[in-house]
Symmetry: C2
């Protein structure tokens, strides 16, 4: 059974945790999102946030890093067991990204995904499209991040013969 | 007239351009999205991408930086003219993010936004919610990025009196 066939709608994948520090929050913000409430504790206290908080793009980037590490570790295990790894390709995009609560210095956010969609690609024979909803929850139980992402993965099946397609 | 009132649905904001380099693509990927097709030219050539390309999260982070710089410059101009700046608060999230084409080393991507929504916030008196659709187009004319983001901005109006709310 190939890696694509082993993934089922409803599967849960726990990517892991990340601790956000004030320094890490400021470093990301200085490069990609230099708004005062991500950079300056005092200015942040005067803002609607009431204190320093991470850029939402920082939270998203951290999620992506944990996702990649998680699937890399999973693939290494598969290879060690003589099984094929899950081969990922491009992502067409994502939907419904939400930042319902701020991420503060010291917050520990755990990201967990659920497979919510799986189908063969119409545009790319031999590839499937996986969709998953990933949630980031911090130590207080508050949800700080939600998103539904989509990605192409190899099905391990030969490309189907399409009626009427050129034979060459 | 305050800054919120000066923004109208249909307004276009040209954030500016960014040139993606192989080094910049690899640096972002090494930290946040270490998939081979963002890190290794040869492995990328063997992948569905056919060559090195930027992490989609990198493209998004670059868009955010140009957005912040653009509104900072706009606010500086407003302040110099004795006008109030646009005060931004949290973003509840975003919708329909798409990466329709890869960003390659040497690509110059220009990001342009259109205001697509503007309303007073129900949950945060004195604040409005702006929505904009931002598109990233590279020098070939190909669209590489699309997203509709939402953000709270100060309306400059006092919070309305809510019937039945406590007077203290």
């Amino acid at each position: 059974m190939n890696a694509y066939d082993q993934i089922a709608i409803g599967d849960i994948h726990v990517f892991g945790k990340h601790t956000f520090t004030a320094e890490g929050i400021r470093r990301f913000a200085a490069k990609y999102d230099p708004q005062v409430f991500h950079l300056d504790e005092e200015a942040a206290r005067q803002s609607l946030f009431g204190g320093l908080c991470a850029s939402g793009w920082h939270t998203a980037a951290v999620m992506m890093r944990l996702l990649v590490d998680y699937f890399d570790a999973r693939d290494a295990k598969a290879r060690a067991a003589g099984q094929p790894p899950l081969v990922s390709g491009p992502s067409p995009g994502l939907d419904d990204l939400r930042w319902p609560n701020p991420v503060r210095p010291g917050d520990v956010v755990e990201f967990t995904a659920r497979i919510v969609g799986k189908r063969l690609s119409k545009s790319r024979p031999g590839w499937g499209l996986l969709s998953m909803t990933t949630t980031g929850v911090k130590q207080t139980g508050e949800v700080v991040f939600m998103v539904t992402t989509h990605a192409f993965v190899e099905t391990g099946q030969p490309a189907p013969i399409v009626a009427g397609a050129p034979s060459a």
